[in-house]
């Protein structure tokens, strides 16, 4: 594509599902605004959804969008990647943005490579930070090697595309005075039709990535019943139960609960790891939690290296005591 035609235009692909915007949309706008200000550019939010509330699109402007491209069509009711790709690529060809930010959700990570390959441009996955260097180029920072290293990546082609991890950018402040434009776009149906969504068979009951408190158990629980104890503690703290991979593989708990490289990446206010050794794959999913507490019988367990507080001992002794103490304090307070 012709490089001269770009005027520091930044695209943010929002995610509209279940009649609202996923919070990643506002996080992307927060970062997008920062980059747009730095480069003196325009920030555009792309909305592709079905029965999109017009009021909620105003929020995108309040959070930093100068223009909103709104596609409201049944084609976007389900996450059928080809429909999104077709329309996004068309818009990119018309508008020629410099940078495209997409959420590193399952949906975003399925769509973005498809778009990048069509546009023959570079894509950087799962970034945890974006910086603009002195040359005005975007530096994309992402973990690799199961979180053991951070790579700083530059893209030679335009547009620069990146997916951004959930909960690492902040949304910025809402400004009700901000003005912007909503542009209504017609969605086009692509010809390729050999993939059919035949059923949406199970809505996720648990979205562990959104939890503020997670009480996780590992092989040290010894049995599925151990999770009842953790559930009691999680309930008291207003949190949810998590797991290392071992209990999931053993069939003690369902896979939605798994934290780590092949499970969920989480960043709660409080993460309590019980009977978890702290393998690199587990740490890759939780080491950015605000406060980490570990309970493990083995003082040399690597989990203690990332813990703020730890108790060396048997979780079956410690967790019931903790539950008892918290209950007692609650009673005293009330």
């Amino acid at each position: 594509m012709d490089k001269l035609s770009y005027k520091n235009k930044i695209f943010v692909l929002t995610e509209y599902r279940g009649e609202k915007f996923h919070p990643i949309s506002f996080e992307l706008l927060g970062k997008g605004k920062e980059i747009a200000e730095r480069l003196g550019g325009e920030l555009c939010a792309i909305v592709m959804g079905s029965r999109v509330s017009r009021d909620s699109c105003m929020n995108l402007i309040y959070y930093g969008a100068d223009r909103v491209f709104l596609y409201d069509s049944q084609l976007f009711a389900e996450p059928n990647v080809i429909n999104f790709k077709h329309n996004l690529v068309k818009l990119v060809e018309e508008e020629k943005p410099d940078i495209i930010l997409i959420g590193a959700t399952h949906f975003g990570r399925s769509l973005a490579p498809r778009v990048a390959a069509t546009l023959k441009t570079g894509l950087t996955a799962d970034c945890i930070d974006l910086e603009v260097d002195e040359k005005g180029e975007l530096i994309q920072i992402r973990p690799a090697f199961t979180g053991n290293i951070l790579a700083h990546i530059k893209t030679k082609t335009k547009p620069v595309m990146t997916t951004v991890r959930y909960k690492v950018m902040s949304a910025g402040r809402m400004d009700l005075e901000r003005k912007g434009l909503i542009v209504f776009k017609d969605a086009e149906e692509p010809k390729e039709r050999n993939v059919k969504i035949v059923g949406k068979y199970e809505a996720r009951k648990l979205n562990i990535a959104d939890a503020e408190v997670i009480v996780s158990g590992g092989r040290g629980l010894g049995s599925p019943e151990g999770f009842n104890l953790l559930k009691e503690l999680a309930d008291l703290l207003g949190g949810v139960v998590g797991s290392s991979r071992t209990p999931v593989d053993e069939g003690w708990i369902s896979k939605e609960h798994q934290v780590g490289f092949s499970g969920n990446t989480v960043k709660p206010k409080l993460y309590i790891a019980c009977g978890i050794s702290g393998s690199p794959q587990h740490l890759a999913g939780m080491k950015d939690s605000e406060t980490i507490i570990a309970v493990n019988v083995d003082p040399s367990a690597p989990i203690f290296k990332v813990a703020d507080y730890g108790i060396v001992g048997d979780l079956y002794q410690i967790i019931p005591l903790m539950i008892k103490e918290i209950k007692a304090r609650k009673v005293n307070k009330g």
Binding site: R114, G122, T146, N148, L150, A203, L321, E325
Partner: protein, 265 residues
């Protein structure tokens, strides 16, 4: 009709053992043995299971250095009928775009196929992009985060794809690319007999010249890559309180106070 299945396999270092130079951020690949990317074992197992039920022919395809022959032999021990390694200095230093471009070129050379399987992501590159980019280069659909293969026959496959807030049952007719998570199956271990058989079988090696007419050599390897790593750093571990208690009462007292200070209780 026999189903033709291509499985994308990458050789990666054993992540538990690989060492990193904290100063330079360099990865010492010689510090750890290499193995098949764990998620690609799930992809291979899925292919072999389909073959066992329906009849079929499984090709393991990889791009990598000459040592990757051993990963492909391992793939043959685990049930692949044929293995192809794309190996050339010109392919080195490829990012996901150039990797997928080269793999797609090789797939075009292979010719007709029904199903392409790959892993959710690699433990080293960790992007999960190569699968969908291959599919786009081949202009076929892809289905990501597949945790279950529900059904398959000579014409189509039905899978469960884990999206963010829901799971979807998706039916696709061939050709299609499916990227699997570790939940899709438990890869079996090859028997000694399988290993011995694989030792004797041949891995085809295709160099850049062998892909002539299928790829533009200006688009492969480092020079064909739209992105490049400009620096690697070892993440600074957040400074943690690191208060570890051996006395349970003392530990609990401290922890409960912290929880109270932070308004968590």
């Amino acid at each position: 009709m026999v189903l033709k299945i291509i499985v994308l396999i990458k050789q990666v270092p054993d992540i538990e053992r690989v060492r990193f130079d904290v100063e330079t951020g360099r990865i010492d690949r010689s510090s750890a043995p290499a193995e098949i990317n764990p998620f690609d074992l799930n992809a291979l197992e899925a292919a072999v299971q389909i073959k066992e039920k329906l009849g079929g022919y499984v090709i393991a395809l990889s791009m990598g250095p000459p040592q990757a022959v051993s990963a492909l032999k391992d793939a043959m021990a685990r049930g692949a009928d044929e293995a192809i390694l794309l190996e050339d200095k010109k392919f080195a230093g490829a990012d996901t775009w150039a990797t997928s471009y080269t793999l797609a070129g090789a797939i075009k050379k292979i010719g007709a196929y029904d199903l392409i399987l790959c892993g959710e992501k690699t433990v080293d590159g960790d992007t999960g992009q190569v699968g969908a980019e291959v599919a786009e280069q081949l202009n076929i659909p892809h289905i990501y985060y597949v945790s279950r293969i529900v059904d398959f026959n000579e014409r189509n496959v039905t899978v469960v794809s884990e999206m963010d807030d829901a799971s979807y049952t998706i039916e696709a007719s061939y050709p299609v690319l499916v990227s699997v998570t570790k939940d899709v199956n438990k890869p079996r271990l090859p028997t000694l007999k399988d290993k011995l058989r694989a030792m004797k079988s041949e891995v085809k090696v295709w160099h850049a010249a062998d892909l002539e007419g299928f790829v533009d050599l200006n688009c492969v390897g480092y020079f064909g890559s739209p992105t490049n790593v400009h620096k690697v750093v070892i993440p600074q571990e957040r400074c943690r309180e690191g208060k570890i208690f051996r006395n349970v009462e003392e530990g609990l007292e401290n922890i409960l106070n912290v929880l109270k200070d932070r308004r968590l209780i």
